[in-house]
Amino acid sequence: MRILIVDDSSMMRAMIKRVVKMTRVPVDEILEAGDGAEALELLEAHDVQLLLTDINMPVMNGADLLRKVARSDRYRKLTRVIISTDGSTQRREEAAGLSVRCYLKKPFSPEVLRDVLTHAAETVRV
């Protein structure tokens, strides 16, 4: 499985990566992007199965990234997870309409992220 982590904080990406490596989720490669535009380029160039994205980011935010992903048939098998400080009802409803599998609100403990990753990985269709 190939995972793409999208967050404008390099430390948040590193923390998520550390949790991924601590889990028993089988991972071949972890890619990173600092915003939605970078993420789209990586999605174009690589066969990614699991997308973990923040919402509030410069250049292109996570909501716009997910809208573009939802419009393309190419990504219909991509499992999508939001990891964001925005826990609002409006954002969660929007996420549900964009085929987001899990919504994890920051702050979170490593164990909660482990559970989300394990659940999301079970839905990945390689």
């Binding site: 550390r18 889990t23 028993r24 490593p110 164990e111």
Partner: protein, 176 residues
């Protein structure tokens, strides 16, 4: 727990119970003795850190009292198990020495009660719990289960074979 309730043999608090290892406050034990159990009492604001690798048949328990050895270096050097930052690494080192593998480790935390019910500056239970979580994260270990917080002291029994816990507090009991 009702006084008339019959507990499984593993948990029975009597002389017929299987091999028992009892640790006190500020103590720890690691064992490979199959069929035995580890117990500790009076886990209030302290934390019982319970680890087990069922595949390797290794289990251990630490009953630490305070988060940081720097609070009392002399005591820490004589009793490293009394502090989270000296006791937790020691617990894992001993368990690794007996064959525990980090990736298989089942790790459970019990305790961290607010015994003074202050929730204020001296909330030792909360500080202990956060210190334990911090040390486990730093060492790349996930927590499998917790029974923490509240305001009452707990008794913990751990089955060495599979790491199952029985936690008693007042009139309640639960399995973790």
């Amino acid at each position: 727990m009702s006084g008339s309730m019959q507990l499984p043999a593993m948990w029975r608090d009597d002389e017929q119970a299987p091999n028992r290892l009892v640790i006190g406050i500020g103590e720890m034990v690691v064992t490979t003795e199959r069929g035995s159990r580890i117990s500790t009492h009076a886990v209030g604001s302290c934390i019982a850190v319970c680890i087990c690798d069922p595949h390797a048949g290794v289990a251990g328990m630490l009953h630490f009292l305070l988060p940081e050895a720097s609070i009392n270096p002399d005591r820490a050097s004589a009793h490293p198990a009394a502090f989270a930052d000296t006791g937790i690494p020691l617990l894992f080192q001993k368990a690794y020495g007996l064959g525990l593998v980090k990736q298989r480790a089942v790790v459970k935390l019990v305790g961290g009660a607010d015994m003074a019910q202050t929730s204020g500056a001296f909330n030792t239970g909360r500080r202990n719990l956060l210190a334990a979580r911090n040390l486990l994260w730093r060492n790349g270990v996930f927590i499998t289960a917790e029974d923490v917080g509240g305001t009452g002291a707990r008794t913990v029994h751990m089955a060495v074979d599979d790491g199952r816990l029985q936690v008693l507090s007042g009139h309640s009991q639960k399995e973790l």
